[in-house]
């Protein structure tokens, strides 16, 4: 059995929002360790703080207190440009609403992270092709998002998340806008990517059956607190 290596560690992470005089604590002192190559599901009801926690771990938001350590770096202390580089080079993201740019073709959407990372033009075409082939959309590269089904759009978003060969993939309710068949296909694809690339995956979902079926571990959140750190499947 391989020795587990910690990839990401959240240490007593809190996130507060101020609404007028009221302070809302969306995430309350959550500590969580994510091993390299692990597929972890953050499970919780709406408003439990799972998406906020995911955003902080993905470098889109900063904790009010606590630390999130990824490869010796505390994301809470990184400068804005370094945090952008972390999102660009280390992280891949998939959203519930796909978030493909409607004005671009699928191919151009997938190429976008490569443009931001200033990857050489000649290399881009092969990497875009490779990512689209992996998600089974090689033939739809010239199509715009509006010409694709929900499942295809989410697979396209997954190709875009993978094209920069990230070390960790964050998926925020990736099946939220899909029917059960397409939802299962996406999670099968995530599992396959985890197995073949050894990628660490953190997925936010509120569907316990799917989480139990595909994730290695389930972390349960409620009212911003980590209720259960879960056991490995």
């Amino acid at each position: 059995m391989p020795i587990a290596t910690t990839f990401l560690q959240a240490e007593s992470v809190s996130r507060e929002y101020r609404l007028g005089e009221t302070i809302i604590r969306a995430v309350d002192a959550v500590s969580l360790t994510v091993e390299k190559g692990e597929f972890i599901a953050l499970l919780g009801s709406s408003g439990s703080g799972k998406s906020t926690l995911l955003s902080m771990m993905a470098g889109l938001d900063r904790p009010t207190s606590g630390a999130i350590r990824v490869q010796e770096h505390n994301l809470a202390e990184l400068a804005a440009d370094d945090l952008a580089r972390y999102r660009r080079e280390t992280v891949g993201m998939v959203f519930q609403s796909f978030n493909l740019l409607p004005r671009m073709t699928l191919e151009e959407n997938v190429e976008l992270p490569l443009r931001l990372a200033e990857v050489h033009r000649q290399e881009r075409a092969s990497r875009v092709g490779e990512a689209l082939e992996r998600v089974g959309l090689g033939a739809r590269r010239k199509h715009r998002p509006s010409e694709l089904s929900g499942g295809e759009q989410q697979r396209g978003a997954l190709a875009r998340a993978l094209v920069n060969r990230p070390a960790i993939l964050f998926a925020d309710e990736p099946t939220g806008n899909l029917d059960s068949v397409n939802g299962e296909q996406i999670l099968l694809l995530l599992r396959e990517i985890q197995d073949s690339l050894g990628m660490t995956i953190i997925m936010v979902t509120h569907e316990r059956p799917l989480a139990e079926k595909f994730a290695n571990r389930i972390a349960l959140l409620s009212d911003g607190r980590l209720v259960s750190n879960g056991a490995h499947h």
């Binding site: 952008a84 580089r85 959203f95 740019l101 992270p113 920069n164």
Partner: protein, 454 residues
């Protein structure tokens, strides 16, 4: 993000909202066009005035008179220019000396006299002026009926139209016809003069020689009829109605008003000139040549100060035209700000996605900045073209109007390359400044808030 990728994305984004962005770009283009049209008008009029004045020979010339008979040019005589006892006569020796000065291209006398003219039985009295061959290129003879003198010594005449009208109801029909000049020739007194007393008295007074005035006639072929007065411009020198080649006029040896003065002062043996015109290579040589001539003991006058005033007037004129033109561009820049701020609202989610994918604040800001720059570039380019068209239309309209007034057409609008490039550059700068606020606002968007935006 690399500049090329940034530009591609910017152009792509602009293409997506093609109508709104085209209208904004058109606003910039109209602003630039008004700026270019205004300034091209200023530059065109300045160029036209400079060309005309330079070609008129007024600004590359020094007018020289003897300090004995300095008549001034509207200026009160100073003590410096007041007649001096030992001042030099403006004779042939002086002309030769002046022509040898550096940067001097031509020295010629002013031959101007009043005489009688006879044509088809009509007799008129008018002023005649000798024109140097260099005045052929002055531009004053453009649009003239007929042609300039065939040679510097041709026995030909050009008539001013008002005078030509006194000779014929159809002035243009005079070209090719002959007229006769009646004039008084100044000649040396013959040695076998019958009036020995006069001679004796001259010898007794120490003034050898003398002059005689002999009536003469000269037939000249009319080669042209001109509407303007090519001799106009300097007070006292204009007003002639018949023009001859200068050398032809010189060979007539017409008696001049100062011949009597020369005779009385004892210098009648060597004919002197009332005034000489010294032409120099370029207007910038005028001060140096003028100083050198003064050193030789002659009085001078040039219109250099007038050119300085002219430049000042045109600089102020250009400044005002530029300011009015810039106002339109300022209004256009508000259009850019409005378009880009609207774009931020519409593309809030896109900004969030870009940031989630790893775009820095700078990448996002640069994208909006580049979009403003691209609008400025296209607006500038089309604006220059539009401005040029407006200027051409003005020139076209003016030319038609002038032709209807029987005047030659002029190019009143001129877009030099520096104006075109500056206008495009200015449009880009104004657009970038206008894009600064939207760009900063877009860059500062929180990715989480932007992604939540529907």
């Amino acid at each position: 993000m690399k500049t090329r990728d940034l530009s591609e994305l910017a152009v792509r984004n602009l293409r997506e909202a093609v109508l709104r962005n085209s209208l904004t770009t058109l606003g910039v283009a109209v602003g630039v066009a008004s700026l270019v049209a205004m300034l091209s008008l200023g530059v065109g009029l300045q160029t036209l005035a400079s060309q005309r004045l330079t070609r008129s020979g007024l600004f590359d010339a020094v007018f020289v008179t003897s300090q004995r008979n300095f008549r001034g040019s509207g200026r009160p005589p100073s003590t410096e220019s007041a007649p001096k006892k030992d001042s030099r006569p403006l004779d042939e020796d002086a002309r030769q000396q002046l022509s040898k000065l550096s940067n001097v291209t031509e020295v010629y006398p002013q031959i101007r006299f009043v005489t009688g003219v006879r044509y088809a039985g009509k007799s008129e009295s008018t002023a005649v002026l000798g024109l140097p061959d260099s005045s052929r290129s002055s531009g004053a003879f453009e649009g003239m009926t007929g042609a300039f003198f065939s040679s510097p010594t041709a026995e030909e005449a050009i008539l001013q139209i008002e005078f030509a009208k006194t000779l014929s109801d159809q002035p243009a029909s005079l070209v090719g016809k002959e007229l006769t000049l009646h004039y008084a020739e100044r000649s040396a007194l013959p040695k076998n003069a019958s009036d020995e007393d006069i001679l004796d008295s001259m010898m007794a007074s120490g003034t050898p020689g003398g002059i005689s005035i002999v009536p003469r006639e000269k037939n000249l072929r009319i080669v042209g009829v001109i509407e303007s007065d090519p001799s106009a411009g300097i007070g006292g020198f204009g007003g002639a109605r018949v023009y001859l080649p200068l050398k032809t006029a010189e060979q007539l040896h017409v008696a001049q008003p100062d011949d009597l003065q020369a005779f009385l002062s004892g210098n009648s043996a060597k004919p002197s000139y009332m005034a000489l015109t010294v032409r120099v290579h370029s207007p910038k040589d005028v001060p140096q040549v003028e100083a050198a001539i003064k050193q030789l003991g002659f009085a001078t006058f040039s219109l250099l100060d007038a050119t300085k005033s002219l430049r000042l007037v045109f600089t102020v004129f250009d400044l005002f035209l530029g300011l009015f033109g810039s106002l339109a561009l300022t209004v256009a820049s508000l259009g850019i700000i409005n378009t880009l701020v609207m774009a931020i609202l519409e593309r809030r989610r896109e900004i969030g996605i870009l940031k989630a994918l790893g775009a820095t604040d700078r990448d996002v800001g640069s994208l909006f900045f580049a979009e403003a720059g691209v609008m400025g570039l296209f607006g500038g380019f089309f604006g220059v073209a539009l401005g040029w068209l407006i200027g051409s239309a003005l020139t076209w309209g003016t030319t038609i109007y002038l032709h209807r007034q029987n005047l030659p057409g002029v190019k009143i609008s001129y877009v030099p390359w520096w104006l075109a490039l500056s206008a495009i550059g200015f449009a880009i700068i104004v657009s970038l400044v206008a894009g600064l606020y939207p760009a900063v606002r877009a860059a500062r968007l929180n990715p989480i808030d932007a992604l939540r935006y529907e």
